[in-house]
């Protein structure tokens, strides 16, 4: 009898342990407190709205009038824009001045701000990594700054609000010679004057 009881106890303990484990697992899956989850949902929503903001083909909402929608979009865009405009650096691939997909939302936010604040102006600083010749890199940095300028102009920013300057490879943010450093250095910095 003693042994049976012991077996029973062990089984109970095992069950409890497994149950305990699974409970912990579900908690880990969520891995968040309520506040964190809400914040993440908000962030996701913000991100998805941000991507939609400039493309103009967001999900239509039939219950709101066009004016209401526009007002809401503008309000949201302004809020998101402020966050996005904290991001002042745009990154590029090696020997490329092509604006990456993930940079568009940030640039659109800067464009929207410059567009509605006619007195604001920016200097776009083009930079490259250290590889390749200095003078070619100066031209490449300039091309990157010009690509960003073009993006802003297409998004209705006046040319007079934008200056460009290329430093080529002369002003690295990370001075080591590694792929990681290179990708940090290939950039355009947006400086509000």
């Amino acid at each position: 009898m003693k042994t049976m009881n012991l077996r029973f106890l062990v089984m109970l303990l095992l069950l409890a342990f497994v149950a305990g484990c699974s409970t912990t697992d579900t908690q880990d899956d969520a891995g968040l407190t309520d506040e964190e989850a809400a914040a993440q949902a908000e962030e996701r929503a913000a991100r998805s709205r941000a991507f939609g903001a400039g493309s103009g083909d967001g999900i239509s909402d039939e219950d709101l009038s066009q004016e209401e929608r526009a007002a809401r979009d503008a309000r949201r865009a302004a809020e998101e824009g402020e966050d996005l405009r904290q991001e002042r650096v745009i990154y590029f691939d090696f020997d490329s001045a092509e604006i990456k997909r993930e940079s568009r939302a940030v640039l659109e936010a800067h464009a929207a701000y410059l567009n509605s604040n006619g007195n604001a102006s920016v200097t776009l600083q083009g930079h490259t990594d250290e590889r390749g010749t200095k003078e070619y890199n100066l031209a490449l940095g300039e091309r990157r700054a010009e690509a960003v300028k073009q993006f802003l102009v297409v998004n209705d920013v006046r040319r007079g609000q934008i200056e460009t300057v290329s430093y080529g490879e002369e002003r690295p943010v990370n001075e080591s010679s590694s792929e990681e450093a290179y990708s940090e250095n290939r950039r355009v910095e947006i400086d509000y004057n």
């Binding site: 090696f94 590889r131 390749g132 010749t133 200095k134 003078e135 100066l138 031209a139 080529g168």
Partner: protein, 447 residues
């Protein structure tokens, strides 16, 4: 028979010849005397040590009790080594140490496989000046080629050693010696958390640096005027790039350009009357020519792609430049009369910053493959392109005015050193002098 030649050391070009140069020279001399006498570091041969004409430079006799501020024989040995045309006999292997011709036994040197022997003795005169008597002998002909005397002040001893090196080099090879030429370069150092840029010049072995400009904004692309008296360069002082022209001796300078966009890659024309440069004031980066007299600029390339890094052919009839119009940077050549451009490089996905050899027959440039960069060479007659040598470097090298050597910066981690390669790619040397953060070396013309 006895033919004694009096050598006098010439002042550095452009320094003493003008009245306003006095201050700059005084400052320079002050700097030199402040330097402590030091043991001369020996140049390191990184490849090709066994090539070249065998020559022995016997340690020079010094009048007894005399403190000699510079090891003249070692400087000469270093020079001949870095020319790539000589193989120097180590003093430790010499069978005898003659100091003048009467005590020279040709047999000793034949046994050691030497073709030339140089002897010398250095003496300090009562007036404080130093006199070097030196001789050069051809071992197989059993003949004296030079017997000469050079005089110099204490401050000029290094210059004297370079001058004597030129004479030995030129006597044996018949080629212009480059040992009195100079190097312009930029250093970038971090001081107190900030980057500091300096434009400097030094002797060609990196010794005796003098700072011409200091700035917390980038300085780059120095280029010597054909007479060796001025430099053009790019400076970002004030936050925007401009092309500047500076007289070396006086330090006087003027800003030549400050256009919207790029102001970069200035190079002097062979006649010294105009510059090629890269501007983007009319849109994309293009090559322009500025006439120095009138300051008028004329656009030479017209293309949406990047066009930069122009460099004249020695005959002034064409120039080469870098363009990425094909999708990657490649070298193009524009004929000045027709205005037509043709592509010259087809191997590798990165060929940039080309310069002509002084004879105009080949190009040296930066060649990249698999994101590694080397010095490339193109034979213009055959169209053959090759990697000159395999030490990674991604800066345009400086070309010796006699066409025999290239100087470039190599990096190991965060340290940089100056290296030389012969233009046939067979020998490489590392200069023992270090300049922290060195970049952009440019070789002066012959004085």
């Amino acid at each position: 028979m006895y033919n004694q030649i009096m050598d006098t050391v010439r002042p550095q070009p452009g320094t003493l010849s003008r009245p306003w140069a006095g201050f700059a020279v005084a400052a320079l001399l002050l700097l030199l005397t402040a330097l402590p006498a030091r043991a001369e570091l020996v140049i390191q041969v990184t490849e090709g040590a066994d090539r070249g004409i065998p020559i022995a430079v016997v340690p020079f006799a010094v009048s007894s009790g005399e403190e000699v501020p510079e090891e003249i024989a070692t400087i000469i040995r270093n020079n001949l080594t870095m020319s790539g045309d000589f193989q120097l006999l180590e003093p430790g292997r010499m069978l005898s140490l003659p100091t003048f011709g009467d005590t020279l036994h040709y047999r000793d040197w034949r046994l050691l496989g030497q073709q030339f022997v140089m002897l010398g003795s250095l003496e300090r005169q009562d007036d404080g000046r130093y006199v070097l008597e030196y001789e050069l002998y051809d071992v197989s002909q059993q003949r004296r080629l030079i017997r000469s005397r050079a005089t110099a002040s204490r401050q000029q001893l290094r210059q004297m050693a370079h001058h004597v090196s030129n004479r030995v080099y030129e006597t044996v090879t018949g080629i212009d010696g480059i040992f009195t030429t100079r190097l312009a370069f930029v250093t970038r150092t971090r001081e107190g958390g900030d980057l500091l840029y300096r434009l400097r010049i030094s002797d060609i072995d990196g010794v005796n640096p003098v700072t011409l400009l200091e700035s917390d904004e980038p300085i780059l692309s120095p280029d010597w005027s054909p007479d060796g008296k001025e430099l053009v360069y790019v400076s970002f002082e004030g936050g925007r790039p401009g092309i500047y022209r500076q007289t070396i001796a006086s330090g006087e300078r003027e800003r030549l350009t400050e256009f919207r966009g790029l102001n970069s890659a200035p190079v002097w024309s062979p006649d010294g009357k105009s510059l090629l440069m890269t501007l983007s004031k009319d849109g994309s980066a293009d090559i322009y020519r500025m006439v120095l007299g009138s300051r008028n600029v004329e656009q030479l390339t017209r293309h949406w792609a990047i066009n930069t890094e122009a460099s004249w052919a020695p005959d002034g009839r064409s120039f080469v430049y870098t363009s990425d119009r094909s999708g990657s940077p490649q070298i193009y050549q524009m004929d000045r009369r027709s205005g037509d451009s043709k592509r010259l490089t087809f191997e590798g996905n990165y060929n940039a910053s080309a310069q002509f050899s002084p004879d105009g027959k080949s190009l040296y440039f930066v060649h990249g493959r698999d994101r590694q960069f080397f010095i490339g060479m193109l034979d213009l007659e055959s169209g053959n392109q090759r990697i000159l040598h395999r030490t990674p470097t991604d800066e345009a090298p400086g070309i010796a005015p006699n066409g025999r050597l290239l100087i470039y910066v190599t990096r190991q981690g965060n340290s940089r050193s100056l290296e030389l390669t012969t233009t046939d790619g067979r020998s490489q040397f590392r200069l023992p002098i270090e300049h922290e953060g060195i970049r952009d070396p440019a070789w002066s013309p012959l004085p």
